[in-house]
């Protein structure tokens, strides 16, 4: 088995075990959901910092490096932020119930995200702006791949 499949299988196993385990009690679940929201927003703050920097004629590489490293560091943990019992039937969240109905797809997509985050981090460390732009765009694709099916629209 190559590294990717090892990762996917083990991540899936962890996710499946977590999903099969007794769902979190409500107070605990609400804490997890709130933290998840904050961590997702932190991803957003990092991507926005990178985006606005890439918009300028002389991007600040230090800002991009810091943000890319932060995303890369948190990305592998993402799957663990979605334990069973933290869906829309428990509390306020845009995470759709489909996440726990199609765990294998969710895990594969989360893995694509970690790979893209890793590539962006590597490009940022090298300081090659062209490469950063390409990797950043690819990262955006992996965010969208998951958000489209698994995230509900913003409430009105």
């Amino acid at each position: 088995m190559n590294r990717k499949s090892v990762f996917v299988v083990s991540a899936f196993a962890l996710f499946a075990v977590a999903a099969a385990a007794a769902p979190l009690a409500k107070p605990q679940a609400l804490v997890v959901m709130k933290q998840r929201h904050e961590k997702m927003e932190a991803f957003g703050d990092a991507t926005k910092a990178i985006y606005t920097n890439l918009q300028t004629s002389s991007p600040d590489l230090n800002v991009i490096r810091k943000a890319s490293a932060a995303i890369n560091q948190q990305a592998p943990k993402l799957v663990s932020w979605f334990p069973a019992g933290t869906g829309p039937n428990v509390g306020k969240t845009r995470a759709k119930a489909e996440i726990w109905q199609k765990p294998e797809d969710f895990v594969v997509k989360a893995h694509d995200f970690t790979v893209a985050a890793n590539e962006l981090d590597a490009a940022a460390k090298r300081g090659d702006v062209g490469q950063i732009k390409t990797s950043f765009k690819a990262l955006g694709g992996t965010c969208k791949a998951c958000h489209d099916p698994y995230r509900a629209p913003e409430k009105d």
Binding site: D45, A49, I50, Y51, T52, Q55, T56, S58
Partner: protein
């Protein structure tokens, strides 16, 4: 006899704006990001053109002919919507001013807004803080709902004039001509080359803004 009341630039502006706003709405819902930006630039150019034409255009296009105080609006309503001149009646003028002002704010917030995921934003987003861009995005979305309400009001008013007062406002916005009471002077047209110049200047200013030229440069 039918006489001219709206010139071609005003009518083209109006209907192009209708199409661009509808497409901009659709492109936002469908997440067609690049298309949405270009449509926004188009709307900005149109608005800038209309503002210029409001100073240098035909008699009925000029702001000086239809921007009035509340007293004129009240008088118009008291007179049972009697308006013998060619051009915007006081209530319709309010609609024009409100729609143009609101669209300017919507375009302005769009220029500095950032999408929530951070992979899409207005061309001037880098000039403001991320929290400002987030606020701008929320305003951009919320004000669009206000715009839809104003458009609904605009259309409802036109229907009401037709049904309750028997006046056709839609036709003149298409043909440019309306039946005027005897002795009422028609529109005095502007010059075609001035219109062309206004278009060129509007596009130039738009390019200057989205290109991040000084003082928008970084």
């Amino acid at each position: 006899m039918k006489q001219r009341v709206w010139d071609l630039p005003v009518r083209l502006f109006h209907w192009t704006l209708v199409v661009l706003v509808a497409l901009a709405w659709w492109s936002a819902e469908e997440h067609k990001d690049d298309l949405h930006l270009y449509l926004g630039y188009g709307v900005l150019s149109l608005l800038l053109f209309r503002i210029l034409w409001g100073f240098f255009g035909s008699s009925t296009a000029r702001f000086s002919a239809f921007v009035r105080g509340p007293a004129a609006v009240i008088r118009y309503v008291r007179d049972r919507f009697h308006w013998p001149t060619a051009g915007h009646a006081p209530l319709g003028a309010l609609s024009v001013i409100a729609l143009i002002a609101l669209l300017l704010v919507i375009v302005g917030t769009g220029l500095i807004a950032l999408d929530e995921d951070g992979f899409f934003g207005g061309p001037l987003a880098s000039l403001v803080s991320i929290s400002t861009s987030d606020t701008a995005r929320e305003l951009h979305e919320d004000l669009f709902k206000v715009l839809l309400a104003l458009i609904a009001l605009h259309v409802a008013a036109i229907l009401l004039y037709r049904l309750a007062l028997g006046r056709n406002l839609l036709g003149p916005m298409i043909t440019g001509k309306a039946e005027l009471a005897p002795g009422v002077g028609p529109m005095r047209p502007g010059k075609w080359w001035v219109a062309l110049l206004c278009v060129v200047i509007a596009i130039a200013i738009t390019r200057w803004i989205i290109g991040g030229a000084p003082p928008f440069g970084t």
